[in-house]
Amino acid sequence: MNRIIEARFIAPEIKLFRIEAPKIAQKRKPGQFVVVRVDELGERIPLTIADSNLDDGTITIIVQGVGKTTKQLNMLEAGDYVHDIVGPLGKPSEIENYGVAVSIGGGVGTAIAYPTAKALKEAGNYVIGIIGGRTKEFVILEDEMRQFCDELYPTTDDGSYGFHGFVTHKLQQLLEEGRKIDFVLAIGPIPMMRAVAEVTRPYGIKTVVSLNPIMVDATGMCGGCRVTVDNKTYFACVDGPEFDAHKVDFDNLIKRNRMYLEHERKALENFICRIDVMATKLEKEDARA
């Protein structure tokens, strides 16, 4: 059982947690993740470690409530516990001094781009950050990113904040302006990562993406997270999660991530139904009181 020290929404449906896990806080490196299980019958979900604090032995994770488990997790508050956390898992990001490095975060992906941007800066890179959201309120970790980015470009799909357009449009613009870019790290929804790969491919820029296949044990035991890269099969949990964007078979990843769509829908419906029943009960109790 691990105690939640801090829990706050940083965007609609996106919540930041600081959770006690001193060993993981000590060990984790940028790009690594943990597996979390909310309760005794919970599933094991991988979540990237956004940050850690050695003073109070906490790690930071940022969760977007999409399905049953993430929504359930986002209902927890400071003082609550999660049932299990294990980590740090996966290979750390390969951090070098590439020269000019662009760190791209799409939506909640910024939570993963952030620790790597920090590490890239510390390794001596000139770091350009591009962080996108649907609208202004979905642009997260802007202040944190700004600390480690030499240039930072927030983007919004609707133009409500920063650059009007997708993160890829901004990247394209920089390249068309003739900016020299040596390395790109892109983390976000799969279509975004695929689009980034297509933008950098003609320029031959080394581009890395962090993949998010479905996992179970996340230590190499089940092979559920296999991804196709350069026509070979890899286990994202132990061989990744970061891979060469130009070689990833994104189609296969998108399809494999849809494997349990029906189940996910059903689980979420059941969960919301349960919450509604609970809420009605509470309302009645309140009314009686």
Partner: protein
Amino acid sequence: MPELSNKERMQIPRQHMPEQSPSERIRNFNEVNLGYTIELARTEAERCLRCKKPVCVEGCPVAVKIPDFIKMVAEGRFKEAADILKEDNALPAVCGRVCPQEEQCEKVCVVGKKNPPVAIGHLERFVADWERMNIGFRIPEMKPKTGKKVAIVGGGPAGLSCAKDLITMGYDVTVFEALHEIGGVLIYGIPEFRLPKEIVRAEVDYLRQLGVEFQTNYVIGLTETVDELLQRYDAVFIGVGAGLPYFLNVPGENLLGVYSANEFLTRVNLMRAFEFPRADTPIMNLQGKDVAVFGGGNTAMDAVRTALRLGAKTAMIIYRRTEAEMPARIEEIKHAKEEGVQFIFLSAPLEFLGDDEGWVRAVKVQKMQLGEPDASGRRRPVPIDGAIETIPIDAAIIAIGNGSNPIISKTTPDLKVNKWGNIIVDPETMKTSKKGVFAGGDIVTGGATVILAMGAGRKAAKAIDEYLKNSEVW
């Protein structure tokens, strides 16, 4: 009962294990074998000839004093029987269920030369269950505390048996487990219908009562390295199992609906996907589907029988050799057949074919015939030219074994491994190339059995004890 003559003993037929009927059991996950009654157990125990030189003991990887405990069963002294059993076996309720006795103790049983051998496994199971249900576990004789500490990496059969021996020898023992539950393959791999999880939990609780500490959610190599453990512990035993599933390396293997047996079984056993949505983890809906399992071992049998229980219309084993070469236990094959599993022999998968959405829809197989024996002594399957068939399937489960998990070897550079990544040890002492570090079980041998891993754990415990009494010697 008066003492029987050997002739009289030989006349008693082997007592049949009561079991759930096939039509009933394929609709539930309850245990298939129901266990001996007291009468059945005592009758079966009378079949033992109490040989002066018991070869059965030599056939047991942990050297259980088989005739001694069986004699106690015959006399109805079940408590004493349990005491004898537990001197050598840390997990008798588990071994009584999953050991391949027909390859070990029962294979060499003297009765077996003429008649079916004494049902040693069934009797072991009876004694362990009787103890658990009637008197509960008792604390055995414990040696005084030595003040030394041993870390055990991996909470499976090897680690648990090593932990049990070391704790009774007076060491402080902590078991580190990567998953959220202790038991390793006993929890995530072997299904409920063959080994109820309640039994594994009870055996683990027993070790806890003896003072073994358990740390779950802890991946040695990542959460803490072996070198760091050595700063906190006087010795380390690595029993992490063979935890990296092999795939067939044929086209289409990453289609939806293609699972490793590890993933399929872990979802159902550890994560309880058969209870979805009460449990959060899903498994694909197999109701009315055709499921193919590739492989011929016990894991393949576990997977195919699990698929049936999840509602599969057809559950088939596709194996490239014939039944005679299948490594699975005879009992498992028999149970699978009774339950309606289909066996397609001499067929090697060539390719999985999928639909537009990426779901597997068929498998193309190459028909084989048996040729000359290979290195394993089994006749090698060779392709029949042009004999290719397409079998429609909705799901595929690959159960062709496991390689070694690289997490420990990668993070412990001075730990010597062979080209397959298995840790190299001295077979007598289970000592590795790294001082203070011992290893045993599947991470050393490659995929084997629960009891062999337990035997290795015992051997290592003995060697660790000797090492910690004189730690200069390596």
